[in-house]
């Protein structure tokens, strides 16, 4: 309970401190000569936010890039090196992890968007009450942590030797159908089946998010464009592909890239479900193992540099989209 009290004090100090800080900044600005005041004020008001991202995101990014060129960091042997990059491009275990990341990127956004789209379209045809209920049920997993979801699905995949009573739903279904599973799903690396079993957890978590955004977009499609196609004799399926889809394309792109960025850094699910064993490793988990098990900060840093490089295109897309929005304002 002592910590909770500290937490309460932190809220009061944090909020009170922030109020006091802005009051002081404003007070100082107003004591300046008029032309200085106008120039100083904007920087004073964005200063605290800028300071925080500077310390917690910008400065660490620079240090990480520097660290990726260092070896034996924090010891007497610390030196400049390219060995970390050599490891990054040649290590077979890392390449395996990258293949898994690639599979995650390929299947999870597509899976979540397809199911989200399916539910959005189907639920649109129900009465408002049923639409709301069915959407809530699909969206609910969004509230659950990745660790919680991993536990839920480990229970679904729980496995006992064939012939004994199964307590996991999937194992029980297979046994009930007369073809019991010979190995636990999460340990079965044939064709990376276990990676797909892990990816299902993420699709289960993210489909609701895709559904909510896509559903809003579908409801914004002008009714007369659909009506016109209907009069021209188009079938519902033609209308969906040729009228609805083109008009919600930009939302599909936004949802896909958002889930893609999330998946690129996926960590919790493999960490909890397999610890990266059985050929299910991903780069964010390699980073964690390098940092805390191998205690190699140079290698951990080079993995993060790889992650940054992979996110750069999306950073660019986000900025471009933001600029386009601004221009349209």
């Amino acid at each position: 309970m002592g910590n909770a009290v500290t937490g309460l004090v932190a809220v009061l100090l944090g909020v009170g401190g922030a109020v006091a800080l802005f009051w002081i900044l404003n007070f100082a600005a107003e004591r300046m000569p008029k032309q200085w005041e106008e120039r100083f004020k904007p920087y004073a008001f964005i200063g605290p936010a800028l300071f925080v991202v500077g310390i917690f995101l910008l400065y660490p990014s620079i240090i990480t890039v520097v660290d990726s060129f260092r070896t034996s960091i924090g010891t007497a042997d610390e030196a400049w090196t390219l060995a970390n990059y050599n490891w990054l491009f040649t290590d077979p275990a890392l390449r395996d992890a990258l293949i898994n990341n690639f599979l995650w990127i390929l299947f999870v956004p597509a899976g979540a968007v397809s199911i989200g789209l399916l539910v959005a379209v189907l639920a649109d045809r129900l009465s408002p009450t049923w639409e709301k209920v069915s959407k809530s049920l699909i969206f609910m997993p969004m509230a659950i942590s990745f660790v919680g979801a991993s536990t839920i699905w480990l229970f679904i995949y729980a496995w006992r030797p064939p012939g004994t009573d199964q307590i996991g739903l999937i194992s029980a279904i297979f046994q009930g159908l007369g073809s019991p599973l010979a190995t636990p799903i999460v340990q079965n690396g044939t064709l990376r089946l276990n990676t797909f079993a892990l990816m299902i957890v993420m699709v289960w978590l993210q489909a609701g998010f895709a559904m909510v955004l896509l559903s809003a977009a579908i409801k914004n499609v002008p009714e007369d464009t659909i009506e016109a196609a209907r009069i021209d004799g188009a079938t519902e399926i033609q209308i969906f592909w040729k009228v609805t889809i083109p008009q919600i394309a930009s939302t599909i792109v936004v949802v896909t890239t958002t889930i893609l960025i999330l998946v690129l850094k996926i960590f919790d699910i493999p960490r909890v479900m397999t610890s990266g064993n059985f050929n299910t490793d991903v780069i964010a988990n390699v980073y964690f193992d390098q940092l805390f098990t191998a205690r190699n900060q140079g290698r951990a840093s080079v993995v993060v540099v790889a992650l940054i490089v992979l996110t750069l295109p999306f950073m660019y897309i986000n900025i471009k989209r933001f600029r386009a929005q601004e221009a349209a304002r």
Partner: protein
Amino acid sequence: MSASTQAPARTASGEILEPPKETTHSSWSVRIALIIVIAFWSLPTVGLLVASFRDSVATRSTGWWTVFTPGGFEGLTIDNYVQVLEAGMGESFINSLTVAVPATIIPILAAAFAAYTFAWMEFKGRELLFVLFVGLLVVPLQVAFIPLTRLYINLGVTNDFVKMWLAHTGFGMPLAVYILRNYIGSLPREVIESAKVDGASHFETFWKLIIPLSVPALAAFAIFQFLWTWNDFLVALVFMVNNEVVTVTLAELVGSRGQDWHLLTAGAFITMTVPLIVFFSLQRFFVRGLTAGSVKG
């Protein structure tokens, strides 16, 4: 779907009649398809909830679905919850709250001030600085762990909670500024101009006008940030040395008692209680928060 391929019915005057929303057989196929998806999406959570109330003997010997067969109610209990709460989950629950509440509230004011400035004040470098925040939205948090650990050591910051509050404040800041600026920027120009005409300074406009008008956006960010910090696993794993939050405790239980499903299911459900309460009680804000916050990496 075939029903709708026919020409639409017309009234005598030639107007097209809207087809009734629930036409008989297309809506049955729609319902069946939806029921399958919903079953697949709900069963995992239902199974977890049912299993968490079955004692160790029942959970170990039969599947949770046998609860729906005759005699299935035997072995129902709340002991699993008592046991797992006493085994550390109770303390972690309070720790999670202690991390998440300040980490949600502290960044808001600094973000709101920055958002107002970006939206309504003219200054050199405005666009460039805002683009910086947009770019930082997707930076992987992994960049921060090694440098911040060193920084905390150099500054003598050793309290787990202080480390978490500071880190989450920093990690949440780009998103907070982004959401709030978009919202504050969309407020009508006349409202802000009229305050200026009345002689209000930026400082007064901010407190008396912007903050009250921005409550929906503030709530959306707060919900997103609260759930994000509550559900976070990685940041807590790295920075919390002497204390645990619920996600870390659950992950440890999975590692150490992987076969004790009566405890794991109860533990998992405890970690889900707070987010689910937020979900069902504040669904409108929840949806808005998640959709606005979805750009965060």
